[in-house]
């Protein structure tokens, strides 16, 4: 194990309406075994010891599955490693003497709450608009009543691994939420249980996505490149197909 001396350039912003700015901090003796968030803990512990306010950031499970962490690190959502959330990024990816720039997600539908914390409740509202199968508790047939081809189930699972972190939006020059929406639409479009409501689902989710102020997709592919769960761009193609299809079904 070795250790690093770093300069952190961190976005500090008091509240939603406050003006933000970058503040530089020097941090020494950072273990290369520590995670990026543990490095932030070290900084915050030092600030708190001095009675200064620590840097606010969202985090919870620290194993890459809850989707809470949301840092833009050196110009990339979740930092430099592919398929990795900030909490799973380890300091061995950095060099001694590095300057690391840390910002919140920047997208109009994700307003800053404080420092690196943003409000992603727009994603919840998109799910509420249709991201479900309307199966009331107790109404289900036996689980093996409808066989599902393994490739379909596997593909649905790949789409369903989305953690809702918002990196796709943060990476996109249009702040588009198409990868997020398409992952949910795909999961259900691939499964027989989801097909009953597919037309209304895609229509309602896309309308909500637009209403929340997310931009459109221009096939840049930054979302796929930055997605910590490596959700495929093919889902956006499927979303477009589902949306077109809904026009024939719903008129």
């Amino acid at each position: 194990m070795s250790s690093l001396n770093l300069t952190l350039r961190v976005w500090r912003q008091k509240g939603a309406n406050g003006e933000g700015k970058f503040v530089d901090y020097q941090l020494s003796d950072v273990s290369t075994d520590s995670s990026f968030l543990e490095m932030m803990d070290l900084l915050n512990n030092q600030l708190e010891s001095k009675g200064e306010e620590p840097v606010a950031f969202d985090h919870d499970c620290r194993e890459g599955i809850c989707g809470a962490c949301s840092m833009f690190i050196n110009g990339q959502p979740h930092g430099p490693e592919r398929g990795t959330t900030a909490c799973q990024l380890h300091m061995r990816s950095f060099q001694d003497g590095d300057t690391i720039v840390i910002e919140p997600w920047r997208a109009r539908p994700f307003p800053v709450i404080k420092d690196l914390v943003v409000d992603r409740s727009a994603f919840d509202r998109i799910i509420a608009a249709g991201g479900y199968v309307s199966a009331k508790t107790g109404s289900a047939p036996d689980a093996n009543a409808i066989p599902i081809p393994k490739p379909d189930a596997d593909e649905a699972m790949d789409a369903a691994t989305c953690i809702g972190c918002g990196a796709c939006v943060a990476a996109c020059k249009n702040a588009s939420a198409m990868l997020f929406v398409s992952a949910k639409v795909s999961q259900f479009a691939l499964l027989p249980q989801g097909r009953v409501e597919r037309a209304a689902r895609v229509r309602n989710m896309v309308e909500k996505m637009d209403a929340e102020g997310f931009g459109n997709c221009t096939n840049t592919g930054a979302c796929e490149a930055e997605c910590p769960k490596e959700i495929s761009l093919a889902n956006i193609a499927r979303l477009n197909r589902e949306w077109l299809r809904s026009n024939f079904v719903l008129g």
Binding site: D33, G51, P54, A143, T161
Partner: protein
């Protein structure tokens, strides 16, 4: 107070059906008149909120995360048990019931466990109907795998992300009800108190963590689904925000806390790497299906694992437990790992680790097959340790993971405060002294989807019959709770001490791990009971809580939770000290067999211990609920 479990008498196979028939129903047109508060949006909370709303109740749902989808159930990896017997390998409701009671070392309530086994099958049906993409065979049928403590294959899974998929299913059902207007959602909201009026739970006091506003919410009933308290150890596999506050505040308002010393130390976690460590990461128990656990035979053997020949390795689980082998229950596997390390045969830089080796499985089934089963776990391991588990054995060590103890509830999931119901990990009822793998997801969803929707009915119906329907968030009990919560916050902010909240949390964690961890003895527990109050006093005199109350203030949030852990830890030690036996995850060094297995004392301890709060300056009172075993015979648990 006599603890009446309200468990139905009569044949256990019929008792849930008969109980349901006897429960008073609430007329569909009347359900909308009731407001039910559900705190927590994990598997238990989200499934309860969604299902109660589907039935027509008005539901208010609270969580501390920014979205209900991020509750810690999301991180559960391995799977969910059900007695479907799809593999035709001899499973049945009775066998799942039997395995769970035995796995819990005969310290769970039989009737609850039987019901859990019965509804397990409905859970799988429900989740598939919601579009949960469980793993499947090429036939299109659902796949199963094995977990510890069972000799049948009854675990349903979605890669190593089963908790995520089940939670997203429950979350989507919840969001559907939000869309329908039947659930009001309160994310980024922390519960600070339960409000009890005229002996009934009438609502909660919360803090909006974005604005800092203290608010009262009134309801006809309150359901706590606020998870477990493993973070009392500081280092655990729980998410950073997991805490005991909601349950502990309920305890201080009169809900009994049962078996707080029953904690599960999970055998397969990534070992501690250094002082910077903020949490520990679990490697799913499912890995023990294919991984073989070993340490070098020689003490202090520092060679690289690949240089240690087969004949110089000790596959100690296979040696000690030939019939269950690597799939012994968690408590047994954890103690065996500790024993190997205590002997000086641990591996890695700290000597506090054992190997979990996949070389044989890769040789047998191919690397691709192993990758398909555990790809995301291997990926996670490689990220954290910088080592490749396909070529070098994983290093693992036990870590706090789950808490079987929790608020005492009766068969209807009602606590000792009328109108306060407790669901999922937050209650104590189904796992006894040790939980089997893949049973937490089962219990959370059973409570939320299939138990509380029925068992809350009679209480609510009773309110109407007693003409007691008025709820008022401006009542005096709410005002008192609000004032107390505000005063506590202001007190913490005005200390301006020199130590951080984490400094105190780490100190407490060390005390708990050393004295109330994987093995316990009277001397250590007494020392902890003596030390914790001193640490608590130090906290209230020297903690540094920065910022102000009326803003987004993560230090303040953590300070409140650590303050409660500093009281709760003492209760845990007290419970561990008074339970003069070993059972499941509770291992008292004074009570072990010659082969170092847990030795129960059935004559004196076949009961659940439920603690009653008696004021800050008084010792709590220990009550007993006797456990009767009519269907499972108590024996020395053997996995040989």
């Amino acid at each position: 107070m006599v603890l009446d479990s309200k468990a139905p008498q009569g044949a256990i196979e019929k008792s849930w059906d008969e109980h349901r028939f006897n429960l008073k129903l609430v007329n569909p047109a009347n359900k909308r008149k009731y407001t039910v508060i559900v705190v927590g949006t994990g598997l238990a909370g989200a499934s309860a909120a969604a299902t109660l709303a589907e039935l027509g109740y008005h539901v208010k749902s609270f969580c501390i995360q920014d979205s209900p989808r991020r509750a810690h159930s999301i991180a559960a990896q391995g799977g969910v048990n059900a007695a479907k017997n799809y593999p035709n390998d001899g499973d049945s409701v009775h066998r799942l019931f039997y395995d769970t009671v035995k796995g819990g070392d005969y310290r769970a309530r039989e009737a609850n466990v039987y019901r859990l086994a019965q509804v397990s099958n409905n859970i799988i049906d429900q989740c598939v109907a919601q579009g949960v993409p469980f793993a499947r065979e090429y036939s299109g049928m659902l796949a199963n795998r094995s977990f510890g403590g069972a000799q049948v294959s009854r675990t349903f899974y979605a890669k190593g992300q089963t908790g995520q998929q089940l939670l997203l299913g429950a979350y989507s059902a919840l969001m559907r009800q939000v869309h329908e207007g039947r659930v009001e959602l309160y994310p980024r909201t922390e519960m600070l108190d339960v409000v009890v009026e005229d002996g009934k739970a009438r609502g909660i006091v919360t803090r909006n963590v974005v604005t800092g506003k203290i608010e009262s919410h009134a309801g006809h009933a309150v359901c706590l689904a606020t998870g477990g308290y493993s973070n009392v150890f500081f280092l655990s596999t729980n998410a950073m925000a997991c805490n005991v506050t909601a349950a502990y505040r309920a305890y201080k308002r009169g809900a009994y806390f049962a078996n707080p010393c029953y904690t599960q130390i999970h055998p397969t976690c990534i070992p501690v790497a250094g002082e910077h460590q903020s949490k520990l990461t679990l490697m799913s128990e499912s890995l023990r299906n294919d991984g073989r656990v070993w340490v070098p035979k020689e003490i202090g053997d520092q060679r690289h694992p690949s240089s240690i020949p087969e004949s110089e390795r000790d596959y100690y689980l296979e040696r000690r437990y030939p019939s269950f082998g690597n799939l012994v229950p968690r408590d047994v596997a954890s103690r065996a790992a500790k024993a190997a390390c205590d002997e000086g045969r641990g591996v890695g830089a700290s000597g506090l680790a054992v190997y979990l080796d996949f070389a044989d499985a890769i040789k047998r089934d191919s690397r691709a097959a192993i990758e398909a089963r555990y790809g995301n776990l291997f990926h996670m391991y490689a990220k954290i340790t910088g080592e490749d588990p396909y070529s070098t054995p994983m290093r693992i060590f036990p870590a706090p993971h789950y808490t079987m103890g929790g608020l005492w509830v009766d068969y209807n999931l009602q606590s000792t405060i009328p109108g306060l119901f407790v669901l999922g990990e937050a209650n104590f009822s189904d796992h006894g002294a040790n939980r089997l793998g893949a049973s937490a997801l089962m219990q959370g969803l059973a409570d939320g989807y299939f138990v509380i929707p029925y068992t809350i009915g009679p209480y609510l119906d009773g309110l109407a019959r007693e003409n007691d329907m008025a709820i008022n968030p401006n009542g005096s009990a709410f005002k008192t709770s609000e004032q107390e919560a505000t005063a506590r916050i202001n007190k913490m902010l005005n200390i301006n001490g020199s130590q951080t909240v984490d400094d105190f949390h780490k100190k407490l964690g060390r005390i708990m791990w050393d004295n109330c961890g994987m093995s316990r003895n009277a001397e250590g527990l007494k020392k902890a009971i003596d030390t914790i109050p001193k640490l608590r006093e130090e906290f209230w005199n020297d903690v540094s809580v920065t910022g102000t109350p009326g803003e987004f203030n993560q230090v303040l949030e953590r300070a409140g939770r650590v303050a409660d852990f500093l009281e709760f830890g003492e209760l845990m030690c007290r419970d561990a000290l008074t339970r003069e036996e070993s059972c499941g995850g509770h291992f008292r060094e004074e009570h072990q067999t010659e082969e170092n297995e847990a030795r129960r004392d059935d004559e004196n301890f076949t009961h659940a211990a439920a603690w009653e709060y008696k004021g800050d300056d008084n010792e709590p009172t220990r009550h007993k609920e006797a456990l009767e075993f009519k269907y499972v015979k108590l024996t020395q648990r053997s996995y040989k």
